[in-house]
């Protein structure tokens, strides 16, 4: 079941020059069950030039407090305005949307995020942990200043880092991290979200080592609910909607 609800911003914490975490308080109605990897279509009012909603992953959920967190990277008109919203203002969301990540059939998992793609991995990590699986995170950014919320990820499991400029962790891309350079990977499932080139490399890596790789696509969307057919990804079964059949796909299913 999908809903359209107003949320109240109860905190707006800037992480870096680009990233903000918004904590949103739901109203009276209890939060529906949300799966890691699902997203919301967020309405951004008062942003000149923004007409459509913006898809943003559910970064974290606190059912007790009835709160949802979003991790927003400022990349353009809409995200710039959203991150400037004052505490107390309202945000309208259509949620929870799409199919999230599956539970693994192995306890050995690696969660790989790049850029704002780290957003869904926190909630996924929490979910895995609740299911008795220790998540390990591999987070890649351009430079250390872009590393966000490491402490939150750290609470859930081991966090490994790569930066392109070497200012933190291993220098290079996620694929250059030692954990990915061993003969035999010590994980069976990769969960990933981030820039498409990164995910494609991971998909290839998974193929090569015969691992399962679940990728979360960030295709442009108009409706978010399967009505417009704008967000398609080519799959083994033809074009599928990222917003309803995804955003999480098994990498082998995609025609990459």
């Amino acid at each position: 079941m999908k809903y359209i609800h107003d949320f109240t911003i109860v905190s707006n914490e800037r992480q870096t020059t680009d990233f903000v975490v918004l904590t949103l308080q739901a109203g009276e109605a209890p939060l529906p069950e949300i799966h890691p990897g699902q997203f919301a279509e967020v309405r951004i009012d008062g942003a000149p030039g923004v007409y459509l909603r913006r898809p943003l992953s559910i970064h974290d959920v606190d059912y007790d407090k009835q709160q949802i967190k979003l991790l927003v990277q400022e990349v353009g008109k809409g995200t710039k305005i959203l991150t400037q919203q004052a505490v107390g203002s309202m945000v309208n969301m259509v949620y929870p949307l799409g199919k999230g990540y599956d539970l693994p059939d192995s306890k050995r998992v690696l969660l790989v995020g790049g850029g704002c793609g780290v957003a869904p991995l926190l909630f996924l990590g929490r979910h895995l942990k609740k299911n008795g699986i220790s998540p390990r995170f591999l987070i890649g950014t351009r430079t250390s200043a872009n590393l966000v919320r490491l402490e939150a990820y750290n609470e859930l499991g081991e966090v490994m880092v790569t930066t392109e400029d070497g200012s933190a962790g291993t220098k290079g891309y996620v694929i250059n991290h030692p954990v990915m350079r061993t003969e035999e990977p010590d994980f069976d499932w990769i969960y990933t979200c981030g820039p498409e080139p990164m995910m494609k490399i991971l998909a290839k890596y998974a193929d090569h080592h015969d691992l399962t790789c679940q990728v979360s696509l960030e295709n442009h969307m108009a409706c978010g609910i399967g009505a417009c057919l704008c967000c398609i990804a080519p799959t083994k079964d033809g074009n599928k909607c990222t917003c309803t059949d995804g955003p999480v796909f098994d990498s082998k299913y995609l025609q990459w």
Partner: protein, 304 residues
């Protein structure tokens, strides 16, 4: 109690608010948000004789108060529609119209013939105006003779309500409306999307895989309203107006210009409850203007 019902020829609508093809899926996508049965009608996805994969990604670009799409009629094809989708939606207590598209007159005809057999489908919307397919589509709707040819051919086989959806990418939409009226259309709907284009200045590439696409949304409203007004002054058959309608006031403006009913398209993406809000808004408007029937709005523009 105000009367919201309108008649589109043989079609009885409990209110003038329908949904536009390609923006409302098969209705099911919106079931979580609204009561589908409360709508005046729904026009389902553009349906073709054979299944179509549509165009490549990217298919969408946001524009100032509008959007471009280049979906290209991705659909499961009419047989699959009849087999697996129709049984799921035929219980809707509203008018379900199928938007019929094709690349040749024969395809249109064959598709319409098949839909003619479906008891719970009281009409089709003949899409001769899709700008996003290489063959057919808009080509039919931008020349008067071909618009007439495809309408007549479908009219011969299709026995229920035949609505023809017009292209705005023409010099005189009124002329084409008159043509399809003469060819036997029961109503016309307008406008389909305007052909547009988006470029990414930094990558120096088109945003859409197809370079050009169809513009819809609030931005096009003034053009759509003008075309409805022009067509209303040209034909006698009822008109279904659309193009950027996002509020009850917008819907009322289209009716004042001469539309009997309206379709809501892109606005569904911005608020999935918008159709119901528009129905409620029309009701309030009539009450506050002390009008007892929405039919009084049709063509009610005061021009002295």
């Amino acid at each position: 109690m105000v009367d919201l019902s309108v008649k589109l020829g043989s079609l009885e609508l409990k209110n003038p608010v329908m949904t536009a093809s390609g923006t409302f899926g098969y209705g099911e996508e919106y079931e979580d948000f609204i009561d589908i049965h409360s709508l005046g009608g729904i026009v389902v996805k553009g349906t073709t004789l054979h299944p179509r994969q549509g165009n490549d990604y990217p298919r969408m670009a946001e524009t100032p108060m509008g959007m471009l799409n280049a979906v290209g009629l991705q659909n499961v094809g009419v047989d699959q529609f009849i087999q697996s989708i129709y049984p799921r939606i035929k219980h809707y207590k509203t008018n379900i119209l199928v938007n019929v598209s094709g690349s040749t007159v024969e395809e249109y005809v064959e598709t319409a013939e098949k839909i003619n057999e479906l008891e719970s489908i009281p009409g089709i919307e003949l899409n001769i105006s899709c700008p996003n397919v290489k063959e057919g589509g808009m080509a039919f709707g931008t020349s008067c003779p071909s618009a007439i040819a495809v309408t007549s051919a479908v009219r011969d086989v299709y026995k229920k309500h035949l609505m023809v959806k017009l292209s705005p990418n023409v010099t005189s939409i009124a002329e084409i409306a008159k043509g399809v009226e003469g060819a036997g259309a029961d109503s016309v709907s307008l406008i389909n999307t305007l052909l547009g284009m988006a470029i990414d200045a930094h990558s120096r590439r088109p945003v859409l895989s197809t370079i050009t696409g169809g513009l819809s949304g609030a931005a096009v409203k003034p053009i759509a309203l003008r075309m409805v007004w022009q067509v209303a002054n040209a034909v006698k058959i009822p008109i279904v107006g659309m193009g950027g309608i996002s509020s009850a006031e917008d819907a009322i403006e289209f009716m004042l210009a001469g539309a009997t009913a309206v379709e809501i398209g892109t606005a569904n993406f911005i608020d999935p409850r918008i159709t119901i809000q528009i129905i409620d808004g029309i009701r309030s408007y009539l009450e506050s203007h002390q009008m007892n029937s929405v039919q009084n709005l049709i063509g009610g523009l005061i021009t002295e």
